[in-house]
């Protein structure tokens, strides 16, 4: 029926082949969609020898460290861990749709409010059975971090790291500085450093989260852990005099922070400490990544943020904790329980830390003999803490911290005089965000 078009009607064949090409392209695009969704639950549905795991450990070092852990688990139990790794930030941004779709049995996540949020949304499975076995391995503060609002366990912590004030020992020695333990000593030290031609406190807030770390430290030193929790959960008011006092303290030391912080990344700020241009830097212990020279790294030390209110001393440590959760309907429940029991053991943590020494074990039973002095100090600080916080954006609603707190804190750093109107604006926006849940 179909006559092949004569060579004369040029558009015919050309258009057809073009169309075929377009059809092919559509098919390809169509094929792309199932490919994307396949990132979720991979085939092995009822295989008792496989547990699937969604990982955000896309950086080379953690990725390799996890591989070692899963290899050791396979040797011990015969169960294969089928890992789907996604880019760290992408994983975080897609977590909503990921958990609602066909997620892996187990996934990497953070302790605290961010874990409780998904537990309350029934997107995670409680794991009290696992904790009956691993409970003894963890200090009380870690247990508190692993429970949902309903009191059930939802999380197995693996590693953690502290926020503290980092400095170079040689700089302190050279100028004869003492580690400050009270607020007045800190202010005096800042003044002295400025006189000595140093930038007292390195600071870079281009990425918008480092300022949250400063707020957290002053807040729980001044108002205590409980107020931090209430404020982050949206229960306490941002127009409270206690919050105002936090900003007043911050205003006192803000002039000693590095100039032009809003345009600087934390990496650049860390470099000014490496170069001995800045005296102190309040950041997480991952700041050590910028100390690439071994001698510089050995020179790095830290102290906990000084005491402001004697009622609370230095009892709280900001220690963001990473670990694992179980998705709403794991395909291989027995395998999952076995895997989590292993991940909650000191052996798993030691295996991990062998490859990634920038963090410390969440368990109090893990062997500390192979720790560097810095790690040992971090470990002691965390295990000695009365309460652990997770960081503003992990302890509160992420939509609140990213759309309200990040720009507000930048505004404060830019213009510390406008605190009152800033706080009432935060409070107004907070009310609507927390009301919408």
């Amino acid at each position: 029926m179909h006559h092949s078009p004569s060579r004369l009607s040029v558009p015919g064949p050309n258009r057809r082949s073009l169309l075929r090409g377009v059809g092919g392209a559509t098919l390809l695009a169509g094929a792309g969609i199932p490919l994307l969704s396949a990132c979720g639950g991979s085939g092995a549905a009822s295989d008792p020898k496989t547990v699937s795991l969604g990982s955000n450990a896309s950086d080379a070092v953690p990725k390799k460290a996890f591989e070692e852990v899963y290899a050791a688990f396979k040797k011990q139990s015969g169960i294969t861990v089928d890992v789907n790794t996604k880019d760290h930030n992408t994983f975080q941004e897609q977590i909503n749709s990921y958990l609602q779709g066909t997620p892996d049995d187990v996934f990497n996540w953070f302790a605290g409010f961010r874990m409780q949020f998904f537990a309350a949304k029934k997107l995670a499975t409680p794991i009290d059975d696992v904790w009956q076995k691993i409970g003894d391995n963890f200090p009380e503060a870690m247990k508190k971090l692993s429970k949902g609002e309903d009191g059930k366990y939802y999380f197995v912590p693996l590693t953690t790291y502290p926020w503290a004030v980092f400095y170079r020992k040689s700089v302190f020695q050279q100028h004869g500085y003492q580690v400050p333990t009270t607020w007045d000593q800190l202010v005096a030290l800042c003044k002295q450093m400025k006189k000595d031609g140093l930038v007292p406190i390195a600071f870079g807030d281009k990425d918008q989260w480092p300022a949250m770390g400063t707020f957290d430290q002053i807040n729980f030193r001044l108002n205590g852990y409980d107020f931090h929790v209430q404020l982050m959960a949206g229960k306490a008011s941002w127009t409270d005099a206690k919050v105002k006092a936090v900003f007043d303290h911050w205003t006192e030391i803000l002039p000693y922070h590095q100039d032009g912080a809003l345009g600087r990344t934390w990496q650049d700020a860390a470099q000014s400490v490496v170069a001995k241009k800045a005296g102190m830097y309040l950041l997480g212990s991952f700041v050590a990544q910028q100390f690439t020279n071994k001698a510089d790294l050995d020179d790095l030390d830290f102290f906990p943020f000084p005491e402001i209110n004697s009622a609370y001393g230095q009892d709280t440590v900001e220690a963001p904790t990473d670990g694992f959760m179980v998705s709403k309907a794991p395909k291989n429940h027995d395998g999952v329980v076995k895997l989590l029991e292993y991940l909650g053991s000191p052996e798993a943590e030691q295996t991990y830390l062998k490859t990634d020494p920038s963090v410390v074990a969440a368990s109090s039973k893990a062997d500390t003999s192979s720790y560097s002095p810095l790690q040992k100090k971090a470990f002691d600080m965390i295990s000695g803490a009365k309460s652990l916080t997770q960081f503003m954006d992990r302890d509160s609603r992420p939509d609140f911290t990213s759309t309200v707190m990040q720009p507000s804190l930048q505004k404060f750093v830019q213009n510390p005089k406008g605190v009152d109107s800033l706080l009432s604006s935060i409070e107004r926006q907070k009310k609507t965000i927390f009301a919408s849940a």
């Binding site: 057809r16 169309l19 032009g260 345009g263 650049d268 992420p398 830019q414």
Partner: protein
């Protein structure tokens, strides 16, 4: 079969590929052949697939986001969508400290693009149109920024502006405490800094558009005005520029679109921090992420849509009126 295909003829002739119109009229037999069953399937696919895609990706999503603008939704399960009426818009207009600055910055973006890179692009185009030597080299050089993706441009300029190690501050010695110039973080400076980067790219774009326009100006017009004794500026002002009218319309529309969709450059530059807030960035910040505020973000998107419509509808009305007249 032949009757069947002849009845189909007018329909098919209504949608021929541009160059084939005269061709199909001449070769009627070839035309009949084109309408086999296979051709009809082909046509259905050609019209159907884009229609389905267009409806699904443009209309359904646009209408859905308009509907969502009147709700709150955290993106988890459809049962958590709650109707809130105009609440999102109320909050947006009264409580959001970033909204009005964002609108203002979008407007500034447009005004700057139309005032600086557009005349500059026209100037370059006029110069390059004079068949000067190495014209192609200059064309390529000026057009190159347009070929580079916005994200890369943002990244490159962000390195140039880096307050500590960037080119500018290192050259003028403004990276020491006391004389610090924070191009990226200071809200009084950063919008202008990023606009320099945007203008750098936009100039090349405008140049190419105007160059194409100038090439189509009838040479006899220049000749005539030269014979009438007009100097170069008079020729340009009274003869060339008026004939560029269609190009100017395209330029205006393109610039408005650029100003409204400005996003990637700023997002890479400083994530739309204080001083560089833009509507598109507010939409993204509210919608993408873990516990997203989809209703609120949609409300901002609807505002952006309304602004676009306010610009596009008068343009379309004018165009259609002109077409009807001719």
């Amino acid at each position: 079969m032949s009757t069947d295909s002849t009845t189909k003829t007018p329909e098919a002739a209504a949608v021929p590929p541009p160059g084939a119109a005269s061709h199909t009229k001449r070769v009627v037999r070839g035309h009949q052949r084109l309408l086999t069953r296979r051709d009809r399937i082909t046509l259905a696919l050609m019209a159907g697939v884009p229609t389905v895609l267009h409806v699904a990706l443009v209309w359904v999503t646009a209408l859905a986001s308009i509907a969502l603008a009147f709700t709150t939704w955290d993106g988890i399960g459809f049962d958590s969508i709650k109707w809130v009426g105009l609440e999102n818009f109320k909050q947006l207009f009264s409580d959001n400290p970033q909204f009005w600055p964002a609108v203002e910055h979008n407007v500034i973006w447009f005004v700057v693009l139309i005032l600086i890179p557009t005349p500059l692009g026209l100037l370059l185009a006029v110069q390059l149109d004079k068949r000067i030597r190495f014209s192609r080299v200059y064309q390529t050089a000026f057009f190159l920024p347009v070929v580079i993706s916005m994200a890369c441009i943002g990244f490159v300029w962000q390195l140039v502006y880096n307050p500590d190690t960037g080119l500018i501050n290192s050259l003028i010695g403004a990276n020491k405490s006391g004389h610090y110039i924070d191009w990226i973080g200071d809200p009084k400076l950063n919008l202008w800094a990023v606009l320099v980067a945007a203008s750098w790219r936009h100039t090349g774009y405008m140049m190419i558009l105007y160059l194409a326009g100038l090439k189509s100006v009838d040479p006899s017009l220049r000749e005539a005005s030269a014979l009438d004794g007009a100097n170069e500026w008079q020729t340009f002002k009274h003869v060339i520029f008026p004939t560029l009218r269609p190009t100017n319309t395209v330029v205006l529309v393109v610039t408005i679109i650029e100003a409204l969709r400005a996003f990637d450059l700023v997002f890479v530059f400083n994530k739309g921090a204080q001083g560089t807030e833009l509507l598109s960035i507010l939409v993204t910040n509210n919608i993408i992420g873990e516990s997203s505020r989809i209703g609120y973000g949609s409300a901002i998107a609807v505002v952006l849509l309304l602004i676009s419509l306010a610009v596009i509808i008068p343009y379309l009305v004018a165009t259609f009126r002109k077409e009807r007249r001719s």
